[in-house]
Amino acid sequence: MLGQTEQTECSIRSETGWKSVTAMPMEAADIERLIVEAMPDATVTIEDLRGDGDHYSARVTSAAFKGKSRVQQHQMVYQALKGRMGDVLHALALQTSIPSDA
């Protein structure tokens, strides 16, 4: 429906009813869940910047970022969101870091 290859993505629809996926904003909990699914050791803090469910900031801390450039770290977070970035998720200000004990 979004032109993606995955076929079992129904969590968005079941949580908020039958709406056009491209029009529906994401919940902070969804963003966090997706990131943690892809990066189980990640600490994620999400803030809804305008209260409209469309402009978030996220701080993600994970040992998986070790040795990677900022671009690579952010790409990992975008990949965790499986195509939603730039689509149903309009803006996500990202800050990534590595845990001090990693």
């Binding site: 900022r70 952010h74 195509g83 730039g86 800050q95």
Partner: protein, 111 residues
């Protein structure tokens, strides 16, 4: 796939110009806050850059996201290398890393 004309165009743009900003709108009239922020950062540092308006060309708007493997606009390229979007560039600017990177790559400020 033999050749992708959009990718070829992008490659040409980032090769022929030292600093390229793929953005929404133009440097004089940015159409998005994030793009405007990067224009401001580059202007502060005083480096000459080419602004490419992705709103003027939908195939470019999609193409640059595939080319860079980066889902959003704006995107900054320095000497053919993708350096980052708004968050990364802002962070690098605050820490002084951006100026340092430009120096290392031999990009001289005009100011």
């Amino acid at each position: 796939m033999d050749s992708n004309p959009i990718f070829d165009r992008i490659r040409q743009d980032v090769t022929e110009n030292e600093v390229v900003l793929f953005m929404k709108g133009t440097p004089v009239f940015p159409q998005c806050g994030f793009s405007a922020t990067l224009v401001e950062v580059l202007s502060r540092i005083g480096v000459k850059f080419k602004g490419i308006d992705v709103l003027a060309d939908p195939s470019l708007r999609d193409g640059i996201k595939s080319f860079s493997e980066w889902p959003t606009i704006p995107q900054l390229y320095v000497k053919g290398e993708f350096v980052g979007g708004c968050d990364i560039i802002r962070e690098m600017h605050t820490s002084g890393e951006l100026r340092k990177l430009l120096e290392e790559k031999g990009v001289e400020p005009v100011a």
